[in-house]
């Protein structure tokens, strides 16, 4: 097991190298360079531009820039953000936590609701509540989450729900006590979490339902019932445990999917995460920030997949990674 983890981690290194090369290559295709926007400013003289170009090696051929970027990256330095006038690593570090918070809370909400709902649907197959839930699941899967965000914002504003309409904290956040801070943050999270967890919840409860239905048809469930066990024991002790296992593979997939999907939600809900940062970087032609974001996004996706593999191994004794 340890050897497997180690091998997976070593395997990540060439992958990251490939990802960073691809990021660099894409940015080379872009018109202009990192300083183009700066050059438009009337205050910036030709001499300053020359000095800046020399400082950031932009007067050098692309392959030299590439090696400089890669060597810096290995030292944990992702270059300079021209939009924020700060190192890219610092800018991203500010945002990664926010994105992780939103993603993790949404996943917890989605899983905590999806499993019981899925069980209920499977146990009461074809009942009116199952049909209603199926209907909602189809809607939840099909509605674009940024559109759901707009709808919720609209309802929030016109129906007087009184929830905050963007950002992560109130203006006077710094003066709050700990509990007030927690409540304020939670209130800001309500809408983004609903938006982000809806799609996950909808697909997950359908998976749970169909997995459990499959398991309930197995012979050992019949055996358990024949032994005279209570139906509750049959379902929760025998069937549900086996039905949850395959869902763990979906977990890693979701972690990756939600990372990409979260960016639109972050933008609509004005959540200060790496998704909205990425959009700002792209619009402001802040090339180092874009490249840094691509690499960080990929690292988070890889960690997600690895976590899912390890969880699967931990939960299912039949799976052994060598």
């Amino acid at each position: 097991m340890h050897r497997y983890i180690l091998r997976r981690l070593i395997y990540v290194i060439p992958m990251l190298l490939g990802i960073s090369s691809l990021s660099f290559f894409i940015m080379q295709l872009a018109p202009g360079d990192a300083l183009t926007t700066m050059a438009l400013s009337p205050d910036v003289t030709e001499e300053i531009m020359e000095a800046m170009r020399a400082r950031f090696w932009l007067d050098q051929p692309p392959y030299k820039q590439f090696f400089r970027w890669i060597t810096q990256l290995l030292r944990g330095d992702m270059g300079h953000s021209f939009l924020w006038h700060a190192p890219v690593t610092w800018v991203i570090k500010q945002r990664v936590f926010n994105s992780m918070l939103l993603t993790v809370v949404s996943l917890i909400v989605a899983w905590a609701l999806a499993i019981p709902i899925g069980i209920h649907s499977a146990v009461n197959q074809y009942s009116w509540s199952d049909k209603l839930l199926t209907f909602f699941a189809f809607i939840g899967v099909s509605i674009p989450n940024w559109f759901l965000g707009l709808l919720l914002l609209y309802l929030n504003l016109t129906r007087g729900w009184g929830l905050p309409i963007g950002g992560m904290t109130s203006i006077d956040f710094a003066e709050f006590t700990f509990w007030e801070k927690a409540v304020d943050l939670a209130r800001h999270m309500v809408l983004p979490v609903i938006v982000l967890s809806t799609g996950t919840l909808a697909s997950l409860m359908r998976y749970m339902r169909s997995n459990l239905l499959d398991v309930l048809r197995q012979d050992y469930v019949t055996t358990a019932r024949a032994k005279g066990l209570a139906e509750r024991v049959v379902i929760y002790k025998h069937a549900v445990r086996n039905a949850i296992n395959p869902l763990i593979t979906i977990f890693g997939f979701q972690l990756g999917g939600i990372l990409g999907g979260a960016s639109l939600t972050e933008i609509v809900m004005n959540w200060p995460g790496i998704g909205s940062l990425m959009l700002n970087a792209v619009q402001g032609q802040d090339y180092y920030l874009v490249m840094g974001n691509l690499v960080i996004g990929a690292i988070m996706l890889i960690i997600g997949n690895l976590t899912a593999d390890l969880l699967l191994a931990a939960s299912d004794p039949r799976i052994r990674y060598e």
């Binding site: 707009l150 016109t158 639109l264 990425m278 974001n293 691509l294």
Partner: protein, 372 residues
Amino acid sequence: MAKTNLENNQAEFGGNGGALRSPWKMAWRKLRRHRLALAGMWVLIFLHIFAIFADFFAPYSEVTTDRRRTYHPPTKIHIFHEGKLVRPFVYAYNRVDTLRNIYEEDTSTMYPIRFFVRGDKYNFLGIESDLRLFGVDAPAKIYLFGADRYGRDIFSRLAYGGRRSLFIGIIGLVISMSIGLIYGGVSGYFGGWVDNIMMRIAEIIISIPSFYLLLALSAVLPPNIPSDTRFMLITAILGFIGWAGLARVIRGMVLSIAKSEFVAGAEAIGASQPRIIIRHILPNTMSYVIVNATLSIPGFILSESGLSFIGVGIQHPVASWGNMLSEALNLSSLTRYPWLLVPGFFIFITVLCYSFFGDGVRDALDPRSRTV
């Protein structure tokens, strides 16, 4: 009795003359029994026709602006006049509050809705015309779903925007399918170090969150290119991002097919390698590919509308369902002019229909799969 039994058997197994029904016909029969899938299919067909013949269905062109009708609310269609049923008509609207764009009906004149009227000129596949399905006489205007900031008709823009939003899914899919099939086919057939290198490259693309990659690639597009070129480039980018996941699955399938006897047979009679891959191996992955295709079209549609929504995809003044919604990002417009949200429902319904249809196709083509 015996004869009817025989006929039944024929109907069940082979149709006329006892010739076996082709797998495609059997799949179609199964699909026809799936009511939701069929309903989804019809709605999709309708939406696509609506988009293709946008010039005819839309009362105005997508770029017709009207500065005096900024954020015009949806026009009410009346069928009663002084208590009597009359043919549908509308009233002209007066802007009573220029600042907040509040309109009132001017009930002095009735403007009946006319069909097959002459409207804005258009050129459809080389045919110059100005025939439009419906319209009202000037100075009244008919805005079924209201108007946007420039007084453009949202209903008309929905029709024209469908041309990009709906077809980007299909074109993008064709691109990513072709790359994915060839790439996966070659990788799986050759195996060994070729396979190793090709799969590592595909994995790099899979490991970057696709939306980030999309954003970065859209930054590459030069800002001042014609809208048609931009549409093609966005489509190409979407296709370029989607292929890797498919390639990986196809490669796995090809690996197992490549070991089968008929491939060895084809090699023995001296078929060339491209021929073996394209003629013998890839057709065996078809049912998977078709199921995957119908289920992945919504992804393309969502990506395009998402990109256009945040302003890096299809750009104004050309319409797409995504960029029509970007005005709703302004919260005061959103609360005052809720009809701006209409394109979102169109995206939602399209995606919903594709998932119904995709479910049906999967059930029809893959007997092992279950409906999730």
